[in-house]
Each structure stands twice: as structure tokens, then as C-alpha cells.
């Protein structure tokens, strides 16, 4: 009798999950394809945004000549900035402009958003009309406002009818920044209004209805319900406006060239002058880096405030 020996059948092992690689996980979650779509933009962002930013920071540490020579200067450009009255004046002008333009633009945008949130006949047309200044060229707008502000322009004609003026809109050091801020309101409020409008439409109507039942006035409903609910959108708008105001250039370039007596000579205007007017690219970059740092700090503060609110 022969003994057949057989090897015992292997114990069926518990089904092991197929090895999941990083790419497989990405594919399963859909992140892979998303990354693929984002990649071209990311590449462009790196090349045209991050690259120049880093390059600008490096340039700020040297003296660059257009024939390609770069001379290492360490922190000399920054030390020079600190002693430059022109820089401090430009910083002051930029801050004052921001302090006037931002609250004004946000207030007007909020009012317009409040008006546009109502469901009335033809409201879509109004919304489009209010957005038009945003898509109009800033240079074109500036040229038109230059005419409006001229000493014998329509605004002074109008003021003359009520016995006021002529108002030195752009020719007085005290008036020039408020005048430019008005233009900022005109060009920016449509964009901000849209963001705030989205925020307003997201507030559940029940809150306001309950408040009405409780006898709250319109102002109380706005102050106690709308404004707190709108804070995230409002913070976004404020930060966007602050960044925009810190970078003000086009309107000044077209309307005042920094005058009168450097009353509207902003930081970005100074960067432009130092770079492309005086060919002092290292110094211009140093001023740009300072502007970047200020903007970054403001953005971080906003982020911190937003987290607090959350």
C-alpha cells in the first residue's frame, strides 16, 4: 500500500487588501485628476509669481545694472530706505490713502449690496450696471475723472451753481488723496458689492423674520443680525481693499504724477520711479519687499481675526 503523502492544502489566507500606493489613493480620492488640472496654473504661478517675488527679494540685496551686473550690497538698500525721507513720505501717503479709501469703498459697497439684495423688478440690470466700472480700464476711468476734477470741469461747475468752489480736487495737497479715494470707490465698489451680496444672500431669512416678530427695528436687524453674519465676507473685502490700496499706482500715474508736492506719491509709484525711471532696481526691489512685508502682516492679522471669529 502506498502511502500517498500529500501536502496539506495551504490554509486559505485572509484576503489581504491590495497594496494601496500614494498614486492609487490620489486616483481613488479624485485628487490626482484635480492636481493634473491645477498643475498648469501652478506652474505659471511659480514661474510668473513666486519666481519674480523671490528674484525681487534677491535683487533687494544688491545693485543690479541692466547689462546684467549684480553687485552684492547686503542690507544697504534697506538701511538707505530707513533714512530716505522720500520713502517715509511715500509710506505715509500710502497709509493715508488706504485709511481714506478702504472705509469709504467698503461702506459704499455695503450700502449698494444692501440695495441690490432686494428682490425687485430689474434688479439684475442694476447689478450689472454697478459692476461696469470694475471692468472698465482704470486708465480710461482716470482720464475721465481728470476731466471731471479739472478746475473748470463739470464738478466745479456744479459746485459753482450752489456757490461753492472752485474745489481744488487735485491741486491741493489736502484734497488730492480724498479725491483719488473717491475714484477708488467708483472703480472698486462693484466688485466688493458682489462679494457682500453673496454674503447677504447666504444669511437665512428666518433670522430677520424672527427679529421682526420680536419687534426689532431695521437698524437693529442690520446691526445685530446682518453685520455679524456678514463678517467673513466683510473681512475678505477689507483685506482685498487694503491690498489694492497699498498697491495704488495707475490712477496716480495718470492723474497727478505723485503731486502736488508729492502729496500723492505712493509707495508703488516710488518703486516704479526708482526702477524704471532711475534704473536703481535694487533699491526699488527693497521698497517692494517692504510693501510685500506690510501686505503680508495685514493679511496675517486678518487671518488671525477671522480665526478668532470662528
Amino acid at each position: 500500500m502506498s502511502v500517498r503523502t500529500t501536502t496539506p492544502p495551504a490554509r486559505p489566507s485572509a484576503p489581504r487588501p491590495a497594496p494601496v500606493g500614494r498614486w492609487a489613493r490620489l486616483r481613488r480620492s479624485g485628487s490626482g485628476i484635480a492636481l493634473l488640472f491645477v498643475a498648469p496654473y501652478l506652474l505659471l504661478f511659480l514661474v510668473f509669481r513666486i519666481g519674480p517675488t523671490i528674484a525681487g527679494m534677491l535683487l533687494s540685496l544688491g545693485q543690479y545694472r541692466i547689462n546684467g551686473e549684480l553687485e552684492w550690497r547686503g542690507l544697504d538698500n534697506f538701511q538707505r530706505l530707513l533714512q530716505d525721507t522720500l520713502f517715509w513720505n511715500a509710506l505715509k501717503v500710502t497709509c493715508v490713502y488706504t485709511a481714506i479709501a478702504v472705509p469709504l469703498t467698503v461702506a459704499v459697497s455695503l450700502c449698494m449690496a444692501q440695495l441690490c439684495v432686494r428682490s425687485i423688478r430689474g434688479i439684475a440690470v442694476y447689478r450689472v450696471l454697478y459692476f461696469l466700472p470694475v471692468v472698465t480700464s482704470l486708465v480710461t476711468t482716470s482720464v475721465i475723472w481728470l476731466w471731471l476734477y479739472s478746475s473748470d470741469g463739470p464738478l466745479n461747475w456744479l459746485f459753482g451753481k450752489i456757490g461753492v468752489g472752485p474745489v481744488p480736487w487735485l491741486s491741493s495737497g489736502a484734497m488730492v488723496l480724498p479725491s483719488l479715494s473717491l475714484l477708488s470707490v467708483w472703480t472698486r465698489f462693484g466688485y466688493d458689492m458682489l462679494i457682500l451680496l453673496a454674503g447677504l444672500l447666504a444669511i437665512p431669512a428666518e433670522y430677520a423674520e424672527a427679529a421682526v416678530v420680536d419687534g426689532a427695528s431695521a437698524w437693529q436687524r442690520f446691526w445685530r443680525i446682518t453685520l455679524p453674519q456678514l463678517k467673513p465676507a466683510l473681512f475678505l473685502v477689507v483685506v482685498l481693499e487694503i491690498i489694492q490700496s497699498f498697491q495704488v499706482f495707475d490712477v496716480i500715474y495718470v492723474m497727478t504724477a505723485g503731486g502736488p508736492e508729492r502729496s500723492s506719491y505712493s509707495l508703488v509709484y516710488m518703486v516704479y520711479d526708482e526702477g524704471f525711471h532711475y534704473f536703481d532696481f535694487g533699491y526699488a526691489s527693497a521698497a517692494g519687499v517692504v510693501l510685500f512685508a506690510i501686505t503680508l502682516v495685514v493679511s496675517l492679522i486678518q487671518r488671525w481675526l477671522f480665526r478668532e471669529e470662528s
Binding site: 511659480l46 514661474v47 510668473f48 519666481g51 519674480p52 523671490i54 528674484a55 525681487g56 534677491l58 535683487l59 544688491g62 543690479y64 545694472r65 541692466i66 547689462n67 546684467g68 551686473e69 549684480l70 553687485e71 552684492w72 550690497r73 547686503g74 542690507l75 544697504d76 538707505r80 525721507t85 481728470l146 476731466w147 479739472s150 478746475s151 473748470d152 481744488p168 487735485l170 491741486s171 495737497g173 492723474m255 497727478t256 504724477a257 505723485g258 503731486g259 502736488p260 508736492e261 508729492r262 520711479d273 524704471f276 525711471h277 532711475y278 534704473f279
Partner: protein
Amino acid sequence: MGEMEVSRRALLRVFGGGAVAAMGVAAAGCGSDSGQTVPANPDDVSGKVTMWIYPIDATHEKDWWPAQIEAFRKQYTKVDVTVTVQPWADRDTKLTTAIAGDTGPDVVYLIPDQLPQYAQSGSLADVSDVIASDKSDFRPNALDAMTYNDTLYGVPILMGGTGTLINKKVMAAAGITQTPASWDDMLAIAPALKAKGYYLTEYEADPAQTLNLTFYPLLWEAGGEVLSPDGKSAAFNSPAGVATLSYLKQLVDGGYVPTQPLTKTPPTESDPVAHGKVAVVTEFGVSDLFTMPGVNLADWEVVAPLKKTVAVGYGVVGGLSVLEGAQNKVAAKAWVKWLASPDQLKAFDKDRKYFSPRVSVGALFAGDPLTGAAEKFTDDTKSGEINPKARQVMDLIKPEIQATLLGHKSVTAALDSAAKSVNDLLARG
């Protein structure tokens, strides 16, 4: 702090090509070979030349060049020339980035306001050899305007002049028969003009306006200079400078000039000059009158520049510069030499209503009552400070002049303040 030269190649190694390319740090990378001169035989010259020019004559510039290139190529058969008419706007931004990116032209049109900065940055080639054989034919003030650190960096191809433009109709309306020749004459006729509702003249203190057309000519007329002869300190705060700013202040305080141009230059169509409200104009040339809407040229005449101690006016000089990074400097210089020859310049300048920097070309507008009259004063013009810091100097003086004219500072305080800023700037080197 220790200084260290960093080459472009080293930057590329450290930071990678992308970032450095984004910086625009692309040096021309060519060593100086300004010793290369144009050979006598055109057949010995070959290669490609690109030139950037600007709409000097806004309507005909683009159409003008193909025929010139064709004529040049009959002589220089082995040289290909491409002329690009660039817009005036942001020309320095485009040129600097092109030079930095190694995509600049071989030849470019520059004016004295730009030339020293490009020369100092090492971007321009010495072109003395281009005109070496007939240098004496060029007007000295034209050559001075294209010379920096005793080196000629541009071959002059055109000259302009402001002269003094008189609106005869306005003068007659105010009962003035004597044409003003000096500041004293100007101040003497001002009240009569004001009484009839006219302005004596116009002064543009707009920061966008160049002082080459406004303050500097008056300073020169008073016998002053902007900077010391060595270019290392301010000279505009001299008694001549005080006299100049005081004169302007007198004009403003007397109501003899319109107020808006003190802060913002009005658009041409609403300029008081175009509206026949100004009697004497020194801030622009005859060619500007041609483009002003509503101006009747028959109302105007051109007389000599005004005088305090010397009669001198501003006159632009335009020249062609060869870039240090030019691929083929010999071919580029051959093209410039050909363009700057008397026959070519004659056609070039006459078509654009500019004056010739070459004496041998002679008067181009003898029969023209306005341009011809202005042409006579070509030798009495200056074209501004030839200094790499000239623009910064100007930008430091402008707000102080404006502050004085708007009544916010005294004449001496403004000039002293500007002088301090300018001296600090020049001391930095």
C-alpha cells in the same frame, strides 16, 4: 559691507534659470569691442541689424523706413536691417527689460535725458568712430548732448528748438507793439495783458512735466546752471536760481499765468494756449503749435529765446546709439553712419520738421515763417543736464518749485531744501 560682483552665470547656477529669467537678469554678456570701426568697403560688412525708433513723425514713421532700408542695402548688400517703430509710452521700461533680457535692438533712438543712464550702465557702445571723419560738421551743442564722460554714445540725427512763440493777435488786442526780448520786457507788458483778460505766459509745474522745458531754460537765461561743472553738487540755488524762481513767483502772484498748469498740465484741447488766451509761450516748440486744435498759425511768430543775462532756450537732440550688446556692431555702426550722412539727414529732418545737427545740411525751412524762424536759433539751445542722475535731480527740484508757486514755501527755503536733497543724492554716487 563687503562688495561682491555676482555674474549672471553664477546666479543661474545658484537660483536656477527660471527665477533668474523672471528677474530679467539676462546680461548682454558681450565684452566691449568699441574699437570695431566701419570698413571703407561696404562689401566687408555683413550681418543683421535691428533698430528701434519711435513715432517722431506720428503719421509717416512706419512708411518712411522701407525705402531707406532698400537704399542702404544697395550699398551694403550683405546687411539686413529691420526697423521697429515702438510707441513712445513706457519706452524706458521696454528698453531696459529688453536689454536685461538680451532681446534689445542693436541700434536705438535716444535723447539726452535717457542717454547718460544707459551709458553709465554699460549698455551703450562708443560711437566716436562713426563720425570721426567729419565730426566738425556736427553742431557742438548736438555733440555735447550725446556725450557722457567725454565719450560719444549717440550720433545726433535731429535737433529741435523752443524759441519764443508770440501770439500776435493777443498782443495786438492788448495794445502791445513791442515784442518782448527779456524778462523785464515780459513783466512790463504783463499788466496790460491781464487787464484785457489774457495771460502773459504759461508755466507748467505739473510733476509729470520735464524741467528741461520749464525751469531749466529760465535758469540758463539767468546765467545759472543746474549742477556744478563736475556734476557733483547743486548749482541751481545760486543767485541766478533765486532770480529765476522769484521771477516765476512774480508771474504767479501777479495772476499773469493760468493756475491749473501749476498742478496739472491741461489736455491740449483745453490748454489756454490753444484757446488764444496766452501771449508768449516758451515751454514748447513750433511743432507743438501744429498739433494744437484750434490754433491759427497765422496768429503766431517766433522770436529769439528770452534773456535775463543770456538768450538761450531748450532744444531737444535726438541721436542713434549702438548697444554694447549688439550682435554685429560693425554692421550697426555702418547703418548709423549711413543714416547720419548729410543726404539722409536732410530728408529725415525735413520730413519730420526738425533741424539738422549737421552744419553742411544748411537751413531746411528757410521759406517757412514759423519753423524757419525757429531754425535760426538752433545753435542757441541746450538740451539739459548730461548726468546719469539728471532725472532724480529733476524730481527732487520739481516739488520744491511747485511748493513755492503754490505759496507753501519761500523761494530760498525751497531752493535750499532742493539743493540739500540733490547734494545728498549726488554724494551717494
